[in-house]
């Protein structure tokens, strides 16, 4: 393709449009992906927070039911107390284990995963301790040995502690997600600003290059025309580019050559005429 001014302008404008389009696409993609990542972080943080609270509630509920069972052994009989309270307590423990498994699954960091992983283990130990109490009490409500009760209390304390730790971790996750959103939005602003500045710089460079490609030869031709109009023919016409302005420079060059030649012809004729007169 011949590098004419038209082609240069069309190419330059197309290039500029492509740069702007590219910048817009990169900006939109960055904002979209950062926004999606922020939403995902918030969602996970909120889930960790709410589910760890649920674990805490179910733990308290399980403890209350277990205590009610222990009291019920003497008041309503072991069998009755078991069916009234322990079935529900088992349900609560089952819920704790399901929730804890999910918390482990969705935890974003290894440290949090380790904290949540303690809950199912504590719940298993708690279930085991409770089973030991049930076995010791038997169907007739026999006295429960102190060490069995102590073991149960220890398991209950560990479950409570791990549930509390979980709750703290959940709350931290929620707070961290807020911080991450702030960091993400800050990063998104920085990224879009950076990409825009880069696009602007590129567009500016292209504009300057395009302008120089047109302005420098035009400025040179203007100087040539001014010199010729003032009678100064001792100038060199440069062809800067292979476009319309280059063709114009060639035309100027031919014109200057012809004017120089005709002027020298006139001078020669005048000199000959002068010497002829002088000779007479």
């Amino acid at each position: 393709m011949k590098p004419t001014i038209k082609n240069k302008l069309v190419g330059g404008c197309t290039g500029l449009l492509l740069v702007i389009l590219g910048v817009a696409c990169i900006g939109a993609f960055s904002v979209f992906s950062l926004r999606r990542s922020a939403f995902e972080t918030t969602r996970v943080g909120d889930r960790l927070n709410s589910e760890s609270l649920e674990v805490q509630v179910h733990t308290l509920q399980a403890h209350n039911l277990a205590r009610a069972y222990l009291n019920g052994i003497t008041t309503m009989g072991a069998e009755q107390a078991k069916s009234t309270f322990l079935d529900e307590a088992e349900f609560e423990i089952n819920e704790i284990q399901n929730l804890a498994a999910n918390l482990v699954k969705i935890s974003p960091t290894e440290a949090k995963r380790a904290k949540f992983a303690r809950i199912p283990a504590a719940a298993d130990a708690y279930t085991q301790a409770l089973d030991n109490i049930v076995k010791a009490a038997g169907n007739k409500g026999a006295a429960i040995p102190k060490e069995t009760l102590d073991a149960y209390e220890g398991a209950a304390t560990r479950l409570t502690e791990s549930a509390e730790d979980g709750e703290v971790a959940g709350h931290e996750s929620s707070q961290t997600s807020q911080e991450q959103i702030e960091a993400t939005s800050k990063r998104s602003v920085e990224l879009v600003t950076g990409v825009s500045l880069m696009g602007l710089l590129l567009a500016l460079t292209m504009s300057v290059t395009l302008s120089r490609a047109i302005l420098i030869p035009v400025e040179h031709l203007k100087q040539v025309a001014e010199n010729v109009s003032m009678g100064n023919l001792d100038i060199t016409v440069h062809r800067y580019s292979e476009d319309e302005i280059g063709d114009l420079a060639d035309s100027f060059s031919r014109m200057v050559t012809a004017v120089k030649f005709f002027r020298s012809e006139v001078e020669t004729v005048q000199a000959e005429a002068g010497s002829g007169r002088g000779g007479r």
């Binding site: 060199t236 060059s253 031919r254 050559t257 012809a258 120089k260 030649f261 005709f262 020298s264 012809e265």
Partner: protein, 74 residues
Amino acid sequence: MSETSDKVVAISKPYFGPATESFLNRQCIGHLSIGFNALEQSHLKELAKWVEPAAAKIMDPNKAAEVAKKIARL
């Protein structure tokens, strides 16, 4: 004009513009002692030899050398 003259004009026109015929006529009369219309193939090398310095006085020397070379190659 001879066929050779036409060819030389066609080659020289982009360099000398409206002064082409006058310039070439002056070189032919001055150095070859013939009119430009009587230019023959055999004159071209000699013409080219004189065109270069004369053209260099009114245009860029590189262009003058260029046009002289083109005439000589005809």
